[in-house]
């Protein structure tokens, strides 16, 4: 009886927790009039007009492509730079490995807002304001510590003997990484990449400050709905659902690895 009550309570809390998103999803299929109706409408004639309007009037595709290009581009580069570093530290730790790892972690603690001015000016002088390149560079640099750490913890779970054996058999370092290590740690690399994509996709400090229109990703597109003169709730809901849907799937896939990635191995 008590157990059943606890189960019920857990489910009620879980449902309340996602209710804002469910309500948003419902609103995305309402007309604007139904969306602001009081009392709120649970039953209504669903319509797709908001989705049509977003694609027809607001260049949703352009923003979405920016999000995809920036997230995938930054993640790919980050992983490519992080794998060799994590490999070296996981399998060939030296007396300074510990210091390097902790120092990398500490660079993640630098608050973005503390360096807003120099980054903005550097981008302006390099002609990179409102370009995808600027966001990709910033995201690679700010996510690199997370990637190195996460890959490091995955690599360390791989038996070292396998690496040694491949080296003794005459494989080069590159061959060892590519042919021996990668197949073993592919799930770990995939989780790392998923977390990086999520972080890039949802990042909303640099994307709001370094882009205007050309390179603006979905975070900035949604922010454009904050203008007081243009409050279209149903359209905002439809745009929001489109913007979060792909990343929710990634998030659900990677949630078990999330703790490892975001606590730097401090909680297991």
């Amino acid at each position: 009886m008590k157990a059943r009550l606890a189960t019920l309570l857990a489910w009620v809390i879980a449902l309340l927790n996602v209710f804002p998103l469910v309500w948003m999803a419902l609103a995305s299929f309402k007309t604007e009039v139904d969306a602001i109706h009081t009392p709120p409408l649970l039953f209504f004639h669903p319509t797709l007009e908001n989705y049509q309007a977003i694609f027809a009037l607001q260049d949703y595709t352009g923003y979405a492509l920016n999000s995809v290009a920036i997230s995938l581009g930054a993640t790919l580069i980050t992983v490519l730079i992080a794998i060799p570093a994590a490999f070296a530290m996981a399998f060939y730790p030296g007396p300074r490995t510990r210091d390097i790892l902790l120092w990398m972690l500490s660079t993640k603690m630098l608050p973005a807002v503390g360096v807003l001015v120099p980054i903005y000016l550097l981008c302006r002088d390099a002609g990179l304001l409102d370009t995808r390149t600027a966001l990709i560079i910033v995201y690679v640099l700010s996510n690199l510590p997370i990637a190195v750490w996460m890959l490091f913890t995955f690599f360390r779970e791989t038996p070292r003997d396998i690496i040694e054996a491949s080296r003794i058999d005459g494989a080069s370092v590159g061959e060892t990484i590519l042919l021996v290590l990668l197949p073993l740690v592919l799930p770990g690399i995939a989780s790392t990449a998923l977390l990086l994509i999520i972080l890039c996709w949802n990042e909303a400090f640099w994307s709001l400050n370094l882009t205007a229109h050309n390179a603006a990703p979905l975070t900035a597109f949604i922010a454009s709905f904050s203008a007081p003169q243009g409050l279209f709730w149903a359209r905002l809901s439809a745009a929001s659902l489109l913007a979060i849907a792909p990343i929710l799937v990634f998030g659900w896939l990677s949630q078990r690895q999330l703790v490892r990635g975001l606590t730097f191995g401090a909680v297991k």
Partner: protein, 292 residues
């Protein structure tokens, strides 16, 4: 590094170099520029007037009567969200620590808000829920015969706090749940046989076990919460007045709305110092766990 690699049998330096050099640049260049600008008289609207300003930027900043309320807002935002996410997070994690029907799906629902981009969370809450006329909460209040709350008009900071807490609760919850699952099941079983109820088990067994996880959540969240920006940008723009202006938003206003490079940089230095205090604590906690 060279000595380490010769001992290990391979040259690790070329493997490490790209990551290390990039991060070194990322750390030093912007930091040095922020420090340099904070001692410069430099406004982008009037770029001809430049020169060494001494401590003037800091003096103006410290004399600004809005600085203290803004710092207070920054800290209140962090502390309130920490209290909400850790308070609710520990209780919810304890509730989810035992097996029950559909637990995996329920846990997925609990974690979901963490994957929603901040601009979506903030605008959905602000409009669909907290709008004083058409919002969901207003409808509930009217239905119950209670006065309607004008969320962003009457209690703007609390409104922002609630939104941010909803975004960060999944993070705390998931970490606490992970930590609780490493708790020895027999310990709880023994306590139960001794007649301990769920509340006693929570306070005397589960909560003490969470000590380390709580400290990690406090430090990680503090670092992120000190930088809260997008939620304020799309809901209140720092207002009404300066009621929801925190340090990041102040710097944004100085830098990209007023184009005051020197003043914004001085505020940036303060933000860096604040964050570094927390960062030093966090790095020490993680270092204790790291065995290389």
């Amino acid at each position: 590094m060279a000595r380490a690699s010769s001992r290990a049998g391979i040259a690790t330096a070329p493997l490490l170099a790209p990551a290390v050099l990039l991060l070194l640049l990322w750390m030093i260049v912007p930091l040095a520029m922020t420090l340099w600008f904070s001692f410069q008289r430099y406004n982008l609207l009037n770029p001809a007037v430049r020169g060494f300003a001494g401590f003037n930027n800091y003096r103006f900043l410290l004399r600004d009567p809005t600085l203290v309320p803004i710092l207070v807002t920054t800290v209140v935002l962090v502390l309130a969200v920490l209290a909400l996410t850790i308070g609710l997070g520990t209780v919810f994690a304890a509730l989810f620590a035992r097996e029950f029907r559909g637990r995996n799906i329920a846990r997925l629902l609990m974690v979901t808000p963490f994957f929603v981009m901040p601009t979506v969370s903030a605008l959905v809450w602000k409009n669909l829920f907290m709008h004083p006329v058409n919002g969901f909460f207003a409808a509930i209040s009217r239905g119950l015969g209670l006065p309607v709350i004008d969320w962003f008009g009457a209690i703007p900071l609390l409104s922002v706090i609630l939104i941010v807490a909803w975004e960060w609760l999944p993070f705390a919850f998931l970490i606490f749940l992970t930590a609780l699952q490493s708790l020895d099941e027999e310990q709880i079983e023994a306590a139960r046989l001794d007649g301990a109820g769920p509340i006693a088990i929570f306070f005397f067994i589960q909560l003490p076990h969470l000590g380390r996880a709580i400290s990690v959540v406090v430090m990680m969240e503090t670092i992120f919460l000190l930088g809260i920006f997008a939620e304020i940008y799309v809901t209140t723009a720092g207002g009404p007045g300066i009621a929801t202006t925190n340090l990041p938003f102040l710097i944004y206003q100085r830098a990209l709305l007023a184009f005051n490079v020197g003043g914004a940089s001085a505020a940036g230095v303060i933000a860096i110092v604040l964050a570094n205090v927390m960062a030093a604590l966090l790095v020490r906690t993680i270092a204790r766990r790291l065995d290389v």
